[in-house]
C-alpha cells in the first residue's frame, strides 16, 4: 500500500483546451547556483556576537515580578484618586463656603446614611428600585439579544426589523414615559417597560454588530465540516459573538439604572429615584448624597458581577491587558 507503483497518473488534463498553454520544456539553462560566496576575512576587532551569561544579574536586578507590582500600583492609585476628591470636598464643606444644608460634611452624610439604613428607608427604596431594574433589564436585554443575533445572521429578519430598530434607536427612552403612563398608568409596569426599552435598544445593536463581526474563516471552516446554516448560527456565530453580547449587557445595565432613576424622578411613590426627589424638595442634601452613593455602589456591584460571569464564560478568549 505504501509503495507507489501506480498505473495511473494522479492528474490528467482533459480535452484539447484551446486556452491551454503549450507548456515549455524545462529549460536546461537553469541558473547555476551562485558559488562565489567570499571567504570571511579575518578581522582584528571584536567578534560581532558574543554570548554572555548574565542570568544571575538579571534575576537580582528585576526585584518583584512586574505583574504583582502593577496590580498594587493600580489599587493604590485608584484609592488615591478617590481620596483626593473626597479631601477637596471635605475641605470645601468644612470651610463653609456654601451653606452646610446644601453642602453637608462627609461625617453628616455618613450619619444620615446610617440612620436611613437602620430605619429601613434606604433598604426599602433599594428593593423597590432593584425589582424594577432587574425586571426591565432582563426582559429588554433578553429580547435584544434574541432579536439582535437573528438580525445579524438572517438577512430577511434584518430587512424586516432593522428600520424599526433604527427608528426607535435615536429616541431617548424617557421620551416614551408620557405615552407609557397614558397607556399603562403610573404603576410598576410602566417603569419596567421604559427600562426594558432602553436596555433593548443597547443590546440589540451590540448583538447585531457581534454577529456581523464573526470571522469568515470560522464560518467557512464550519461549512466545510458539514454544518448547516442554522448549525453555523448557534455553534459558530453565537459563541464567537459572546464578547459583544457581554459588552452590550454591561452597557445595557448602566443604561437601565440611568433610566430607572429618571423614571422614578417623574412618577413614583418609592424607590431610590423617588428618595432623591424627596431629598431635594426638602433640602435634605445629605440624603441626596447618600442615595447617589448607593446608586453608584449598586450599579458597580452588578457590573462587577457581570464582569465576573463574562470572564468565566469567555475564558477561551485572549486575556485582555
Amino acid at each position: 500500500m505504501m509503495t507507489n507503483s501506480r498505473d495511473v497518473e494522479p492528474v490528467s488534463l482533459v480535452g484539447d483546451e484551446p486556452g491551454f498553454d503549450s507548456p515549455s520544456m524545462p529549460s536546461d539553462a537553469a541558473p547555476a547556483p551562485d558559488q562565489t560566496v567570499g571567504e570571511v576575512p579575518a578581522t582584528s576587532g571584536p567578534p560581532p556576537v558574543t554570548v554572555v551569561d548574565r542570568s544571575l544579574e538579571a534575576v537580582t536586578a528585576s526585584g518583584s515580578p512586574p505583574r504583582a507590582r502593577n496590580s498594587w500600583e493600580r489599587i493604590a492609585l485608584g484609592a488615591l484618586g478617590i481620596a483626593i476628591v473626597v479631601a477637596i470636598y471635605t475641605a470645601v464643606a468644612t470651610l463653609g463656603i456654601k451653606n452646610n444644608a446644601i453642602m453637608p460634611t462627609p461625617s453628616r452624610i455618613f450619619s444620615t446614611g446610617l440612620h436611613n439604613l437602620s430605619n429601613g428607608t434606604i433598604p426599602d427604596a433599594i428593593w423597590a428600585s432593584l425589582k424594577r431594574v432587574l425586571a426591565g433589564y432582563a426582559v429588554g436585554s433578553a429580547a435584544g439579544i434574541i432579536i439582535g443575533t437573528s438580525m445579524g445572521w438572517f438577512k430577511r429578519i434584518e430587512y424586516l426589523i432593522s428600520p424599526l430598530v433604527e427608528a426607535i434607536r435615536p429616541i431617548p427612552g424617557l421620551a416614551f414615559v408620557p405615552l407609557v403612563i397614558l397607556w399603562f398608568g403610573i404603576g410598576e409596569t410602566s417603569k419596567v417597560i421604559v427600562i426594558a426599552e432602553a436596555a433593548f435598544v443597547v443590546s440589540v445593536v451590540n448583538a447585531r454588530a457581534g454577529m456581523k463581526e464573526v470571522a469568515n474563516t470560522y464560518v467557512e471552516a464550519a461549512e466545510t465540516l458539514g454544518a448547516s446554516r442554522f448549525q453555523v448560527f448557534y455553534s459558530v456565530a453565537l459563541p464567537s459573538a459572546v464578547p459583544y453580547l457581554f459588552a452590550g449587557l454591561r452597557v445595557a445595565l448602566a443604561v437601565s439604572w440611568a433610566t430607572l432613576v429618571a423614571a422614578e424622578l417623574i412618577a413614583a411613590q418609592q424607590g431610590l429615584g423617588y428618595l432623591l426627589q424627596e431629598g431635594s424638595q426638602f433640602f435634605q442634601t445629605d440624603l441626596v448624597m447618600v442615595v447617589i452613593v448607593f446608586i453608584g455602589a449598586l450599579a458597580t456591584v452588578m457590573d462587577q458581577l457581570l464582569k465576573f460571569v463574562q470572564r468565566r464564560v469567555t475564558r477561551w478568549a485572549e486575556v485582555k491587558r
Binding site: 509503495t3 507507489n4 497518473e9 494522479p10 492528474v11 488534463l13 524545462p26 466545510t224
Partner: protein, 279 residues
Amino acid sequence: MSMSMTSAVPVKTSEQGIAISLVDVRHEYVRTRRSDPLEALGRTSLDIARNSFVSFVGPSGCGKSTLLRIVAGLVTPTEGSVLVEGERVHGPDAKRGMVFQQDAVFPWLTVRRNVAYGPRMRGVPRRERQRAADEWISLVGLDAFAHAYPRELSGGMRKRVDLARSYAADPDVLLMDEPFGALDALTREQMQLELLRLWEERRKTVLFVTHDLEEALLLSDAVVVMTARPSRIHAVEINNFPRPRRPELRSDPAFVEARQRLDALLMSGSAHAPTSATT
C-alpha cells in the same frame, strides 16, 4: 523519474478511479459595476485520481485558491462544473473538507471538541465522536492537550488541531489552501513531515495549494503549475518519488533537479502573463 506533460492526457480508468473532475470551469470576479470583471481562473478541465496528493503552484494572485474554493463549494464558478466522486458540487459540504491558511480552529472550543465538531454536526453520538476525536488527536501527537483551549497552543499545534479536525470529519477529499503559509520556517517544515506521515498512513484525495515548491514536491504525487491571471494550467509535473518519503529526499539530486525544473516552469508561466487591463 519525473516528467513534465507536454500534451493533454486522456483520462485513464483504473481501480484507482477519478475523485475530482473539473469540467470547463471558469471564474471571474465582479468588482464594481463600472470596471470589467476580473477573470481569476481561465477555462480549466482536469481529472484527479482518487487518493492522490496533488499540489497547485503558481504566481501569487493566480487563481489557485479560487480553484480550491470552487471545489469546496465556497465559490460558485461563473461557468462549468465540478464533480466530486461523481456528484456535482453545490455549496460547501462535509464531503469536501478544507484547511485554510488562517487560523480556523474555533477558539471557544477545547481541542477535543474542535476535532469532534464535524461528527457532532452530523449527529454522531457523543461517546462515538469523542472516541474518534481522541484517535485523531493522538495521531497528531496532541494527547496531552485534548482539554486545552486553542489560545494555550502554539501556531503549529493549532495547525495540527486543524488537520485532525478535517480528517475526523471524514471527507472524500481534503482541500488545503496554503495551510502552512502563516507558520515560521521551522514549524512549517515539521508540519510538512507531519502531514506527509498522516497522509501516507491514511490516504485521501488531497488538493494542496502552496507557494513552496519544495513542499509541493515533497508531499505530492503531481504538481500542477498555473500561469498568472487569468490562470490556466501551464504544466503538470508528475512526481513519482517512492513512498514513504523521508525529509532527506530534499537533497536527492533527482529532487533538486525536479525543483529546478519546476522553478523554470513557474518562471515561464509567469512570463506568459498577459499585460492587458488587469493591474
